[in-house]
Symmetry: C2
């Protein structure tokens, strides 16, 4: 059994985007096993268990990932993860991956795949709501799929947004007021908000939105009117209804699961698409265990390996 | 983060019995979090993901365990397991345990707790149906709770039963025909059977049965008439209905969930008990994630430790 650490250092983000795209296609074709993630509530956060089997990569395993919003005050990441990989022929655990940064990257890659297929423009102004690790992962992955000519960034703490924009050297990036950040071609929300941050009237027709932050019951970032105006694509129907951007509006009766236009996988395989260039489209990402397997396959070729005795 | 291996070498089995007993009591009091285990089917077996939080031990984590019946032909155990332990305050993964042998031991301990509370006799003839690793674990754990004055062992392969009996030096043990093994005070079944092995007419009144083998849909070891004759206690209601000894009879309409007398935890805390000494009682074990946490707490004090970088 091998423990893989620092796996992100040599990873090819373009290769990750393609692997995630393929995983979504497999999901739409129904050739994966992936029960909904299971939540355990802890005193100051939670952890989620995400098992899956991806036959196209002959890969099976489980990611275990926590969310503890108070961790940064303790100098720890809010989100940390391990992935266990099993040999599909014998069930033997063959690898354990430090999957903390891989989680950021594979979530960014899902956003990039959504942007590739759902953004009507290929040259974009990118609006970022939230300026943390996931904002950066989305930006890096999307920049490999679309041409970015401006980045407008907003964070509740404007110093964070300024620092984020300042760190970007490859593109024209700056910190802007919230409403201005929403005036863009591709809007990415990565906050842990439990009340809508983005108001519908701030978003122009034709915008594609990656709604990334909502990944647990009670979380939401978008004005529910945006969901009604736009076409909503989810990563997985049952996970999204349970814990995605749509979860609060569905529980309030403002939105129904029947109004969901389809899954990102269905978009990738051509079953579904945006109706016209003027429509708003929304990708509601909760994070899939098959994304963790797809990136694990790449990550196991990189990083530092420590051999462990097993069984 | 620490990786623990060889954790079973110095483990105190009596201490494990008590820890498992306490975990069952916590389960009955409703002070644990433990969603039903999640199954993923692989080409030649399956794996199960078992997350839980046991507040009384301040312990949270996940066991990942496979079942591959064809593994022994490849010189590998059928069942192998890893347990990940998270710090409950921050969600940080703090330990990974090689839990293969711990799984055997904690399952044996559940059988010992059931025997302690449900066997009407304290001096017993022990009947063992199946002569593998779990038969040994049951025997070792039960021998710490009850006085065994004879062991009758049967296996489909009589050489296995003879070898098993021969290896036991502390007690009078011998290989016997199937029907003879069922004529005992405490009967333990540990086979992977999908059709009943033990016929009702072979079992005398007052026998307590630990039905251990059935842990997946379609598995069963006991004549359903035994369930009708006796009082059935389960480890966890939803897991037992899904995959325990009762799963096939319930799916066939021979038995109903309402006929289950209670849980082992309810027996431990005194809410439920056998009605009289002449009754047959059955403990239907599927294996609980809280058992894995309870034994992990002990195992982390033993064994060899390898320090791993994280995060």
């Amino acid at each position: 059994m091998q423990y893989f650490t620092d796996t992100e250092e040599y990873i090819d983000l373009k290769e990750v985007n393609r692997a995630i795209e393929t995983a979504f296609a497999d999901h739409a074709r129904g050739v994966v096993q992936m029960p909904p993630k299971v939540y355990i509530t802890l005193p100051e956060g939670d952890f989620r268990t995400m098992p899956a089997y991806l036959p196209s990569l002959s890969l099976a395993g489980v990611k275990v990932v926590n969310v503890h919003p108070g961790n940064p005050a303790k100098d720890l990441p809010s989100v940390m993860a391990l992935t266990i990989i099993l040999d599909i022929a014998t069930g033997t655990p063959v690898a354990i991956l430090n999957a903390t940064k891989l989680t950021d990257i594979r979530t960014g890659a899902a956003g990039a795949v959504a942007a590739k297929y759902l953004s009507p423009k290929k040259e974009i102004v990118l609006g970022l709501i939230g300026a943390g690790r996931q904002a950066e992962a989305q930006y890096r992955a999307i920049s490999l799929e679309l041409d970015i000519y401006e980045i407008k960034c907003w964070s509740r703490n404007s110093l964070h947004a300024e620092k984020f924009a300042h760190a970007i050297t490859e593109h024209d990036a700056h910190s802007v007021p919230l409403e201005k950040a929403c005036d863009c071609d591709l809007l990415v929300t990565t906050t842990p908000s439990r009340t809508p941050v983005v108001r519908s009237e701030w978003v122009q027709e034709g915008t594609h939105i990656n709604a990334i932050g909502a990944d647990a019951p009670g979380k939401q970032e978008l004005d529910p009117l945006l969901l009604k105006r736009g076409m909503v694509f989810v990563d997985d129907m049952s996970q999204a209804v349970h814990s995605g951007e749509v979860n609060v509006p569905i529980n309030c009766g403002i939105f129904t699961p029947e109004e969901i236009a389809g899954t990102l996988g269905e978009v990738v395989i051509g079953m579904k698409k945006r109706k016209n260039a003027d429509q708003i489209t929304i990708f509601d990402s909760t994070g899939l265990a098959i994304q963790d397997l797809a990136i694990a396959a790449i990550a196991m070729r990189n990083g530092r390996v420590i051999n462990l005795p097993f069984p």
